[in-house]
């Protein structure tokens, strides 16, 4: 069963704008990860944030985690057309056992 919910379900922005998507989850976690999926293909890992971290950066990506609210956000800055994809959060409750995926956000970046 899905651990988390993501919002918005879909997002349409112009190239150069920022894209923000949110993920909420239900149980305690060891870490939370974000993945990208292009056109129904395999998922690609973007970034991991541990339960004792509050913010993490990787290139144009910024992830925050609020364990008290059981929520996370992914910010993509200065978006590009190539960022068009579906983005999923995934939670790991026990460090390497298995992942539970959120519902996903479909992002369309218009050139």
């Amino acid at each position: 069963s899905q651990q988390g919910e993501e919002d918005p379900q879909a997002l349409s922005i112009q190239e150069g704008e920022n894209a923000t998507m949110n993920c909420s989850y239900k149980t305690s976690i060891n870490n939370l990860q974000w993945y990208r999926q292009n056109s129904g293909r395999g998922l690609v890992h973007l970034i991991l944030i541990r339960s004792n971290e509050r913010e993490k950066h990787s290139g144009r990506l910024r992830v925050t985690l609020d364990t008290s609210k059981k929520s996370s956000s992914l910010l993509i800055t200065a978006s590009r057309a190539a960022d068009t994809a579906s983005y999923f959060c995934a939670t790991d409750r026990s460090a390497g056992n298995k992942l539970t995926f959120g519902g996903g956000t479909r992002v369309l970046v218009k050139p």
Binding site: S1, G40, R41, G42, L43, H45, G96, L99, F101
Partner: protein
């Protein structure tokens, strides 16, 4: 890191038939995971495949419908049995390190 080769990449099958999906990993791994992604939906874990033991199925998935083999530490198969149109989905295999999951490219199955 891990590279996963999954095949077939897509197939169109008649209802009532079965399809076996194969995944080959370029390194030895203890656990392999099989997911289903229904159209427009997120990933749902079907089962965890361990070498040398029976697969562990998630709630709502049964071995008779989704038999899994795991003959060695680099290979696994998932069979979708007695297919119906409701089985039309993308099926993905995955391996997971403590910090990152790696996925095959997926099998897009259409049942007609």
């Amino acid at each position: 890191s891990a590279v996963i080769s999954q095949k077939p990449s897509r197939d169109i099958c008649q209802r009532g038939t079965s399809l076996t999906i194969q995944c080959q990993v370029d390194s030895q791994v203890t656990m392999m995971f099989w997911y289903r992604q229904q159209p427009g939906q997120s990933l749902t874990l079907i089962a965890t495949a361990n070498q040398g033991s029976e697969a562990t199925y998630e709630s709502g998935f049964v071995i008779d419908k989704f038999p899994i083999s795991r003959p060695n530490l680099t290979f696994s198969t998932l069979t979708v049995s007695n297919m119906s149109p409701e089985d039309s989905s993308i099926y993905l295999c995955s391996v997971y390190t403590p910090t990152e999951a790696f996925f095959g490219q997926g099998t897009r199955l259409t049942v007609v």
